[in-house]
Amino acid sequence: MIERQNFLKVSKYLLYLKEVMQLGISSVERYRFYLRHLLLWADDHDFSKAPMIRPTFPKYLSKQVQKDNSKDLAQSTQKKNTRHKQKIFSLG
């Protein structure tokens, strides 16, 4: 079961992207999909305890596959995911 506070933080971050960074709806929806990985990775741990979670986020991403189970996630997707994770953590 996913930690609710994490979900609220991610929702807040998406709102920030939309209102402050002026991103379009489709971009925000894309990032919402990216950030699913972060929520699923953290699972029931709060983001404040993220350094303790194993496997680490980049390692977790490298094991994820695309929808049709054909390929791993693209390098650029993994990179964006990690960048967004850092932004969320820095925003608190």
Binding site: I2, R4, F7, S11, L39
Partner: protein, 130 residues
């Protein structure tokens, strides 16, 4: 007591698999599925899985809601038309075409035009002539 199935909109069928394994409030679920709040409330009274906490707040588990949406999908009955039959749009049933007339649409596709023996309306059917 019979269990009636709710007609779930296509966008909900598409979006429901994306629900996370967590507890959603009604408002959050409404925005995740892009559905009106009152429609979701109606679904909850019609049997969608939810739980109430001590303060009376409603919580919906994303995973169980996803499973419920899947269970609401209508059972598909594949009914093939036999030779000489056509589907009457007025009776909403397969009927034997009365006084059929054949015209070729192209080399392979034939069109049959006739009448419904019950309601006497026009029935059209296209068949591939391989």
């Amino acid at each position: 007591m019979s269990i009636t199935k709710i007609k779930i909109p296509h966008k909900v069928i598409i979006r429901a698999p994306g629900l996370l394994p967590m507890l959603y409030t009604l408002n959050e679920l409404a925005s995740a599925l892009d559905m009106p709040y009152n429609t979701l409330r109606g679904w909850l009274s019609a049997g969608a899985p939810h739980e109430k906490d001590n303060s009376g707040r409603l919580w919906i588990n994303g995973e169980s809601f996803r499973a419920w949406v899947v269970s609401q999908k209508p059972d598909k009955k594949l009914q093939r038309l036999t030779e000489g039959q056509g589907y009457c749009m007025h009776c909403n049933q397969a009927r034997i075409i009365e006084s059929p007339q054949y015209t070729f649409v192209n080399e392979k596709v034939k069109r049959i035009k006739g009448y419904c023996p019950v309601c006497k309306n026009i029935i059209n059917r296209g068949i591939r002539d391989d």
